[in-house]
């Protein structure tokens, strides 16, 4: 294959020099473009690979049958992800409105709240946030930001209570 040992000086007298320098410039552009297109896309693929997966679909999970859930009582529930939820039954109505499911993660900066029976409130030890029985913030930084404890959707179907949580993924063992 022929190879130019030295680049020829373009002679302005003949148009060949202009053509050659145009080709040279455009070939450099083509090369840059091709490299960017190829390796750039690969980098994009790697980026998608690294970025954590989108949140999973939600599913309805069985909690209890209504006959086994006394009015006025609470039940601790753990989601497939491991999050802690407190489910309370306010009255004896066999309707979903009698129930409330509150997560225990403080909306301020993510610490775990605990129930204080003496004060009838949920308390967060990190920055002294507090929430009432409905999960609404009553003092501390969460109150300033008008936040509440996360609430999980519930439904009652054929006398059974279900909670909507992110579906499990991977081996749940």
């Amino acid at each position: 294959m022929p190879h130019d040992a030295q680049p020829t000086t373009p002679n302005p007298a003949d148009g060949a020099g202009d053509r050659r320098s145009f080709l040279t410039k455009s070939s450099t552009l083509l090369m840059a473009g091709g490299l960017a297109a190829g390796y750039g896309t690969f980098a994009h693929v790697a980026g998608r690979f690294l970025y954590p997966a989108a949140p999973r679909a939600k599913t309805w999970m069985f909690v209890a049958d209504l006959g086994n859930f006394a009015a006025g009582s609470s039940m601790k529930y753990r989601t497939p992800d491991g999050a802690r939820v407190l489910i309370t039954r306010r009255d004896a109505k066999d309707d979903v409105s009698a129930f409330k499911a509150l997560g225990s993660t403080c909306p301020h900066l993510g610490c775990q709240v605990h129930w204080e029976p003496q004060a009838q409130r949920f308390f967060c030890p990190c920055h002294n946030g507090a929430f009432d029985t409905e999960g609404l913030a009553i003092s501390g930084p969460p109150k300033d930001a008008n936040q509440s404890l996360p609430s999980f959707p519930l439904k009652v179907d054929k006398g059974l209570l279900y909670i909507e949580v992110p579906a499990a993924s991977g081996e749940e063992v």
């Binding site: 040992a5 998608r48 690979f49």
Partner: protein, 349 residues
């Protein structure tokens, strides 16, 4: 523009002229011919393996209870996980194949001869590291063949006299595969061996630069004005082309023949057919032709001869007239390697 470049030059005093001279090696004309690219190919693939390997390590979990599961998640759930894993797997295959072909090229063109004998030995070390990396890498998937292949391999190592038992214990972290083994394989595969290979590569390339690449004369090049051409940009562009072709080949292989998952390792059940990875078929078959110590000793002897080949070859050429003997030996060796590999691939036991 000049102020910023002076700013840089003050803070980053790189001697540009010297650097250019250092890196812009004159590349002998024979390297225009494509089959001399077999050295750069594994080097480029090594780089690809490092990149894909790091990506995989982000999701891989070493540990007997989680390893297989994490590989399954990479293959089935992570975005493009199957692709990165398959590129890594095919990259390994191509890298080992090209390293072997490169070694054959060096052998048949006698590029190992004086004063380049030591570089051949460095290359042998790189070969061993590459094969070990392939071996440890496959063990990390913790499929049935990963576990049993590692067990059998370690036990073969055990039968090496004097140092065998020591080597096996160091490799497995115990007398047999146990809860420490997978971590050892992981550190070997992801840290120790890559760093070792990198250092050996630096030595390998430095020696080439210092000695200069062995020159060959091709008839069609005789008419050229110069015996060499520039690394920058000519050869560099050739390397870029090869790199892109390899990327396309890897993408195609990854899509058409992606990496799959075998059953998870079961320490209580040995599968009917245990085979190592394809690159060990020749050794596996060779060992099966002999018994016990004879097998290990003969393999050791062959490795020893391979290692010291430049010296042996030099000794032969000084003593006899058979200056082409090495070629014939090489042909026999290549045929034997191909034969033993195919034989092992064709049969179950």
């Amino acid at each position: 523009m000049s102020t910023s470049s002076t700013w840089w030059k003050e803070r980053f005093p790189v001697p540009a002229g010297q650097l250019k001279e250092l890196t812009n090696e004159p590349v002998p004309n024979h390297l225009r011919h494509w089959w001399f690219c077999l050295g750069g190919t594994p080097a480029y693939l090594f780089f690809i393996q490092i990149v894909t390997g790091i990506l995989l390590a982000v999701y891989y979990r070493p540990g007997q209870s989680e390893a297989w599961q994490s590989v399954r998640e990479i293959t089935d759930e992570v975005a493009f996980g199957w692709f990165i894993r398959s590129v890594h797997k095919w990259g390994a295959t191509l890298m080992i194949a090209s390293v072997i072909l490169h070694q054959m090229r060096i052998y048949f063109t006698g590029a190992y001869r004086a004063p380049r004998e030591l570089n051949w030995m460095v290359g042998m070390l790189i070969l061993i590291c590459t094969l070990m990396t392939g071996f440890t890498g496959y063990s990390l998937v913790y499929e049935q063949l990963s576990y049993w292949g590692a067990t059998v391999g370690a036990n073969i190592m055990d039968s090496v006299p004097f140092v065998g038992s020591f080597m096996k214990n160091m490799l497995l972290g115990g007398e047999a595969y146990n809860s420490h083994t997978l971590s050892r394989f992981f550190i070997l595969h992801a840290a120790v061996l890559p760093v070792a290979m990198l250092l050996l590569l630096v030595v390998h390339i430095t020696l080439i630069r210092l000695h200069g690449v062995t020159e060959f004369q091709f008839p069609q090049d005789a008419a050229r004005p110069s015996k060499t051409f520039n690394f920058f940009p000519d050869h560099m562009l050739t390397e870029l082309m090869i790199g892109l072709v390899l990327m396309i080949v890897l993408s195609a292989l990854a899509t058409i023949l992606p990496a799959t998952m075998g059953p998870q390792a079961d320490p209580l059940t040995t599968p009917e057919i245990i085979k190592p990875e394809w690159f060990f078929y020749v050794v596996f078959r060779w060992l099966k032709l002999f018994s016990g110590t004879a097998a290990v000793l003969s393999t050791g002897f062959i490795l020893f001869v391979m290692f010291l080949w430049p010296l042996i070859d030099g000794w032969i050429r000084r003593r006899t007239r058979a200056s082409e003997l090495s070629v014939w030996i090489g042909i026999v060796a290549v045929l034997a390697i191909i034969g033993l590999t195919v034989w092992e691939a064709a049969v179950a036991h």
